[in-house]
Amino acid sequence: MSRNDVLVTADWAQEHLGDPSLVFVEVDEDTSAYDKGHIEGAVKLDWKTDLQDPLRRDFVDKEQFEKLLSEKGISNDDTVVLYGGNNNWFAAYAYWYFKLYGHDKVLLIDGGRKKWELDSRPLSEDTVSRPATQYQAKDADTSIRAFRDEVIAAIGQKNLVDVRSPDEFAGKLVAPAHLPQEGAQRPGHIPTAVNVPWSKAANEDGTFKSDDELRKLYADAGLDTSKDTIAYCRIGERSSHTWFVLRELLGEPNVKNYDGSWTEYGSLVGVPIEKGA
C-alpha cells in the first residue's frame, strides 16, 4: 500500500462525483452533520448505531456488516470513498472496518468533511437511496485488530503507540476535551507506550502530512520499524487514524489497532499503568 492507493484529494473527489464505480460514504458520530449537507450522492454511516453491536461492547459481526452494506446499496465491486468529520477519525475507523471485513477498494478523502467545508465545496441536502445489494463480507482479519491480552504481552516487546493528547497520556485528562471529564477508568497510559498524538500526523485543515514528515515523526518518537506495532487511544477511532497512517500510507506491515483502547485497558483489574509524560 502507498498513499496513492488509499488517499484521494478533495479535488479528485469533486471531479469524480457521480462516477458509477464509486460510492461516497460519510461516517460521523453526529449524523446531523450529514443531514445538514453531504457530498452529492454520499450515503451515511453512523459509527455507533451502524458499526457497533447494540448490546455487547464489540463491533458488528460479519453478518451484521453484510446486512448493513447490502441495505446501504454497497456491493463488493464498488470503490468505497470515505470521508467524515473530526478530521476523518470516524472515516478512518470505518476504513479499518472495511479492511477488517475484506473490502477490496477503499479510499479516504484527504481532510474529510473539514477540508471540504473550509474550501466551501458544494454540499447537497438531497436524500440518497441506492438499490439494495447482496454484500458478501470476508471473515474478520484479526491481523489488524489487537485484543487486550496481546496488548499486555506487548509491553516492552512491541511498539505501543498512544495517540491521545499529551494530557490524556499523562493522566491529567481521561477523555478528549470536547467531552465531560468522567469515566470509571484510571487515568494514565500503558507502560512503554510512546505518545504520538494523532494530530501530529495531520495538518490544521485535517489533511495528512507528507510521507517524509510522517516517517520522521514516528522515527523521532522512537518507533522501531523492525517490530510490530499496536496503536490505541480511548475508544479506537483516533488510533484508526494512526493505523491508517502507519499501515496504509507508510506501508508498515504489522500494525494493529487496539479498539478496546483506554476505556478497556484503564478499567482492567491488576494491569500495570504509568502516569506522567
Binding site: 460521523d28 458520530e29 453526529d30 452533520a33 455507533k48 468529520g85 473530526n86 478530521n87 477519525w89 473539514k114 467545508e117 473550509l118 474550501d119 466551501s120 493528547s165 499529551p166 494530557d167 491529567k172 485528562l173 477523555a175 478528549p176 476535551a177 470536547h178 467531552l179 465531560p180 471529564q181 498524538p197 494530530s199 501530529k200 490544521e204 485543515d205 480511548r234 475508544i235 477511532e237 483516533r238
Partner: protein, 97 residues
C-alpha cells in the same frame, strides 16, 4: 462517546465544582460564526480537542486548570485566543480575521 455534545446551550447537568469548562463564541464582522472549527491547544500548543460551533457560534470544552489556547478556522478567516482556566466556568471570545 467521542462525539461532541451539542455546542452551547444550558450548563444544566454540568458539575462546575469539578469540571473546567472553557466556552465562548466565535465572531467575525460583528456577528457570530456558525460552523467554525474550534480547537483547544494545550500549554505546549498540542491539539487537545476540536468542535464545530453551533448556529449561534458557540463552543464548549471540558479541560483541566491551566493555560490553554483556543484557535478557530472557518472559510471566512482564522483567529486565536490564549487563556488561563480554573475549575468552573471560563468564557472567552475568538474573533476571526
Amino acid at each position: 462517546m467521542c462525539g461532541a455534545p451539542k455546542q452551547g446551550g444550558s450548563l444544566a447537568g454540568i458539575d462546575l465544582d469539578t469540571q473546567t469548562v472553557i466556552q465562548g463564541q466565535v465572531w467575525h464582522d460583528g456577528a457570530p460564526v456558525a460552523g467554525a472549527y474550534v480547537r483547544l491547544l494545550d500549554a505546549t500548543d498540542e491539539f487537545t480537542a476540536e468542535v464545530v460551533t453551533s448556529p449561534e457560534g458557540q463552543f464548549r470544552f471540558f479541560a483541566a486548570p491551566g493555560s490553554w489556547k483556543v484557535r478557530s478556522l472557518a472559510p471566512v478567516g482564522k483567529g486565536e485566543r490564549s487563556l488561563s482556566a480554573d475549575v468552573g466556568l471560563n468564557e472567552t471570545t475568538v474573533v476571526l480575521d
